[in-house]
Symmetry: none
DNA sequence: TCGCCTGATAGTTGCC
DNA sequence: GGCAACTATCAGGCGA
């Protein structure tokens, strides 16, 4: 059965509730992160620096991926295709 | 002994790693949420509206009414009238 | 003469610079907008509501009604009733 | 005269209109940017690569600023303050 | 041409 | 209370 004009209430409700449950879990973790920062601060660390460190580490790995993507992009632009590593 | 200028490297490392682990978990959940929306869309639901529903449910109704009152005030000041949601 | 593998470097450079110049201008205007909001706030206005007003004015009213109808449908399916915007 | 409960309609209207005018200008520039990309594509360039180039150039300059900020941060953490260049 | 997906923008929340 | 980071939303571009 299809949707607009006769919505399947049960299915809709299930969807909304799954989302709400996941968002709640996400919020819990966000709170945990905040706690870690608070604890760090209580131990005398400068949280601003820690945040920067965390950000830079993430950025580094993102950058590495970007380099690969860029290489890939150029290769395609030159009409060359990298042999796929996974295969049938 | 205390921190800046002689930092307890192990403790600092532990902090950073705890944060990174938590952020990873948080990202996993965020991805799960995206999946639920994708599934909903695949089943013919309008995800934009579902997002609105989720947001409205989260929003405290007292706060909601307060905002609406102020919005109403501003709209009137501009000579605009909000289209009534209820209708004959 | 054609492009990939012998790129017209000058033309490419010109393109990139035009884009960068336009993006700079765009950023300048974005900053101006921020200034207007800041000024409004300094004059005692609630910027959150002003943003809402601006958004509503931009939104085509037909589209708005359509969204509201669908939202209404979903809310009913969940057994929730939208608080009426008009009131005694 | 103050705001909530007697909003200065003229001032409010002026604010909203200034914002709308600026947003319109911003949109015009955004459209110009789109045009440049379209023209580039018509001339045989790969717009995806151009977008990447533009993004990387922006990122580079942002990164340079970040390095400076980070240095500054560490200096402060070590209790060293860079002699302010401007002073009374 | 349509639908998906990524990148840009706007809004919210937390820190200083 | 202002500023900055982060998140969520939206729109435009790309590929099928």
């Amino acid at each position: 059965m299809s949707q607009p004009g006769g919505v399947a209430a049960d299915q809709l409700r299930a969807i909304v509730e799954r989302i709400e449950k996941l968002e709640e879990e996400k919020q819990t973790i966000a709170d945990d992160i905040k706690d870690v920062y608070a604890e760090a601060k209580a131990n005398g660390y400068d949280t601003k620096i820690i945040r920067t460190v965390v950000r830079l580490r993430k950025q580094d790995s993102a950058e590495r991926q970007e380099q690969e993507a860029l290489l890939d992009l150029y290769m395609h632009a030159l009409g060359m295709v990298l042999p796929d590593t996974s295969e049938t």
